[in-house]
C-alpha cells in the first residue's frame, strides 16, 4: 500500500505561533549525526517530519513541531538533541487537542 499524503498538508491544518529565528530544539553537534549515527531515527520517528536527511546530514526545521518530545527520547545513544519548550506563548496551539 502506498500513501501519497504529505505530513506538511496535515500540519497546515494546525495553528502555530511561530517564534521566528528562535528554534526551541537544536542539534547539539551536527557532525555526530552525519558521521556517528547510523540509525538517524529522528527522521523516522518525528511525527511532524521536522527532521530530514540530506546526504548523511540531518536537517532540523522546527516550524511544524508538535512538542511531543519524541526526537529527544529516541536520540538515546548520542544524546544530541537539545530540547526545550518554546518561549512563553509560542509554538503549537492545539484547537482541539
Amino acid at each position: 500500500m502506498t500513501t501519497t499524503a504529505k505530513v506538511e498538508e496535515s500540519l497546515f491544518q494546525n495553528r502555530y505561533l511561530l517564534d521566528a529565528d528562535n528554534p526551541h530544539i537544536r542539534i547539539r553537534d551536527p557532525e555526530i549525526c552525519a558521521t556517528s549515527c547510523e540509525a538517524q531515527q529522528c527522521a523516522v520517528c518525528c511525527p511532524a517530519g521536522c527532521y530530514t536527511v540530506e546526504g548523511r546530514r540531518v536537517v532540523l526545521i522546527t516550524d511544524g513541531c508538535l512538542e511531543c518530545g519524541t526526537c529527544r527520547v529516541v536520540c538515546d545513544t548520542h544524546i544530541n538533541v537539545e530540547w526545550e519548550y518554546p518561549r512563553s506563548g509560542y509554538g503549537i496551539q492545539f484547537k482541539f487537542g
Partner: protein, 475 residues
C-alpha cells in the same frame, strides 16, 4: 518584589495590567478573605503553592487547593489552558466527580459512551466484540468522549472561580532551590521571573523538563513511552449518529489491535464526538525506532483500512496532533515527592496503559497531592520531604498504586512477545474468514485447517505459554 511580579508576570502587557485584571476576576468569585490573601501573595510574589501546568493533574490540584482557601498560583505555557494538551479523549466520570461533583451541569462533554467495540485487525478485515447497553444511557453516565482543548478551558475556569490565580503564556524555566536543595519556587522566562512558594506541584506533563533538570526524574526511555498520533475529522452531527447507529448524545468507542501497528506494540482508537471523529494510533517508541514507517504514515494506513475508511468518509480533517504517553507502568514511576515539591499526572508516569486510563489518574494524583498539602497546612507542618511523603502513602492506599502494581509486568511481556500484535490477529481473522466462507468444504475440515494454521505459526507450547503469560500478567 511587588515590581518583580508586576514586571515579570503579566503575559503580554509587560506591566501590572494583566495581574490586576486577573486579581479582580478572582475576587469576583472567591471569598473576600482568600482574594485578599491572594493579593498579598501576588504583591509579595510568594504563594502557598505554585502549580506548574494546566492539564487535568494541575487543574485538579489547583482547584482542590484553592477551594481549601490556599493562595495558589498556576502557570501554563500555552496561550490558553489546553492549547498544549493532547488526548484521545475519553473522560472517566469518577475521578472528576470526586473533585467537581456537579461537573455534568457545565462541562463541555461530547457524548456519553453506550457502545464499546474491540477490533482485532489484519490487513483486510477485523474480528471483534461489541458491547452496547441501554444501561449506559441511564444517568449519571460513566464515560464521555471529550475534546481536550474545550474541556481544559472549562476546568481552568472552575479553577479560577475556586480562587486560584491562573496565568497563561508563561513557560517555567527551572525550579528555584535553597542552599539545602529545597524547592522554594520557580523561575519563568519573563523578566524578573522569580516566584516563590512553600511547595511546588509539578503537573508539567510527560516530558517534565523541570523534574528532569532538577534531577528528580531520569530521561524517558523509548521502551517506557508510546508515541500516539491523532486526527480529528468533522462531520455533520446526523451523519455521525447514523454512521454509528446512535442517538443524540450517545457515543461509541472503538479500540483496535493488530496489523495496523505493523508488528509494533501498540493500539489504535476511534471515538465518536458530537460532530467529529477522533482517530489515532500509538506504538511504543522503542518499536518505532526499530523500523522505517513514520508515525504519520502509520496513521494514514490506519485511516485507509477497509473497515475504518468508510467511517471517516467525507469528513473534514481539522487538526493533526501527537503526544507521548508514559506507558512504562509501575516500574517506571519516579520519586514523586521531596523537599518542597510533588509530582502528579503524566509527569509521574501515572498511566494505566492496559485500561487506557491516564487523565483520571492525573486528576486523582493531582487531587491527592493537593489534599496532602492542605493537611500539612492545617497541621502547620513544613513542606519537607518527610511530611510530603504522606502523598505517596495516600497513593499507596488508593486504586492508583493498586492498578499500577496489578499490571506491572505486562509492558515487558508485550515488548518481548510481538505475536500478540501480529500472528494472533492474522490467525483470528483468517479463522473467521475460513469458518464463514460457504464453499463446499466440511466444517470439520475447516476446523482442522484453522488448527493447523495456528500450529504452523506458533507451537502448541508457544500458545499455551502466551496464554499463561497473559493470564499471569493481568490476573
Amino acid at each position: 518584589m511587588r515590581e518583580m511580579v508586576q514586571a515579570g508576570m503579566p503575559a503580554q502587557a509587560g506591566n501590572s495590567q494583566t495581574i490586576q485584571t486577573e486579581m479582580t476576576a478572582s475576587a469576583d468569585n472567591a471569598q473576600a478573605i482568600q482574594a485578599a490573601k491572594l493579593a498579598t501573595a501576588a504583591s509579595a510574589q510568594k504563594f502557598d503553592v505554585i502549580v506548574v501546568g494546566a492539564g487535568p493533574a494541575g487543574n485538579a490540584a489547583a482547584y482542590t487547593l484553592a477551594k481549601a482557601g490556599l493562595a495558589v498560583l498556576q502557570l501554563e505555557r500555552g496561550e490558553a489552558p489546553g492549547s498544549k494538551n493532547v488526548q484521545g479523549a475519553i473522560l472517566y466520570s469518577d475521578a472528576l466527580e470526586r473533585i467537581i461533583p456537579d461537573f455534568r451541569d457545565s462541562a463541555p462533554l461530547e457524548r456519553h459512551i453506550i457502545e464499546q467495540r474491540m477490533w482485532v485487525l489484519d490487513d483486510e478485515s477485523y474480528i471483534g466484540t461489541t458491547f452496547r447497553s441501554n444501561d449506559f444511557n441511564k444517568p449519571p453516565h460513566n464515560r464521555y468522549t471529550i475534546i481536550r482543548a474545550k474541556f481544559d478551558k472549562w476546568f481552568s475556569k472552575k479553577v479560577r472561580e475556586a480562587g486560584a490565580l491562573v496565568i497563561c503564556e508563561v513557560t517555567v524555566k527551572e525550579l528555584l532551590r535553597s542552599k539545602q536543595g529545597k524547592v522554594i519556587g520557580v523561575e519563568v522566562d519573563r523578566e524578573h521571573g522569580k516566584i516563590y512558594a512553600e511547595v511546588v506541584i509539578l503537573a508539567d506533563g510527560v516530558n517534565s523538563t523541570l523534574a528532569r533538570k532538577a534531577g528528580f526524574r531520569e530521561e524517558l526511555k523509548p521502551k517506557d513511552v508510546a508515541l500516539a498520533v491523532k486526527e480529528i475529522h468533522f462531520l455533520p452531527r446526523d451523519v455521525v449518529e447514523s454512521r454509528f447507529n446512535i442517538g443524540k448524545d450517545e457515543g461509541v468507542v472503538i479500540e483496535m489491535l493488530g496489523k495496523i501497528t505493523r508488528g509494533m506494540m501498540g493500539t489504535g482508537f476511534l471515538y465518536a464526538n458530537k460532530d467529529s471523529i477522533s482517530i489515532g494510533v500509538g506504538c511504543m517508541l522503542s518499536d518505532f525506532m526499530a523500523q522505517k514507517t513514520t508515525p504519520f504514515e502509520l496513521l494514514e494506513r490506519t485511516k485507509a483500512h477497509p473497515a475504518i475508511k468508510p467511517l471517516l468518509q467525507g469528513g473534514e480533517m481539522k487538526e493533526y496532533s501527537a503526544h507521548l504517553i508514559p506507558e512504562g507502568g509501575y516500574h517506571a514511576i519516579p520519586q514523586v515527592y521531596g523537599d518542597g515539591w510533588l509530582i502528579v499526572g503524566d509527569s509521574g508516569m501515572f498511566v494505566n496503559a492496559v485500561h487506557r486510563e491516564g487523565s483520571n489518574l492525573a486528576m486523582t494524583t493531582g487531587r491527592m497531592a493537593a489534599e496532602t498539602v492542605i493537611e500539612l497546612y492545617a497541621a502547620k507542618k513544613a513542606m519537607t520531604a518527610g511530611n510530603l511523603a504522606a502523598y505517596k502513602q495516600r497513593l499507596n492506599g488508593s486504586f492508583v498504586m493498586d492498578d499500577m502494581k496489578k499490571y506491572k509486568n505486562l509492558p515487558d511481556i508485550f515488548h518481548t512477545n510481538k505475536q500478540f500484535f501480529t500472528t494472533y490477529p492474522e490467525l483470528l481473522n483468517r479463522s473467521a474468514y475460513t469458518m464463514l466462507m460457504v464453499d463446499g468444504e466440511g466444517k470439520r475440515a475447516k476446523e482442522n485447517a484453522i488448527f493447523n494454521s495456528f500450529r504452523e505459526r506458533r507451537t502448541l507450547f508457544g500458545m499455551l505459554g502466551d496464554a499463561f503469560k497473559l493470564w499471569r500478567a493481568i490476573r
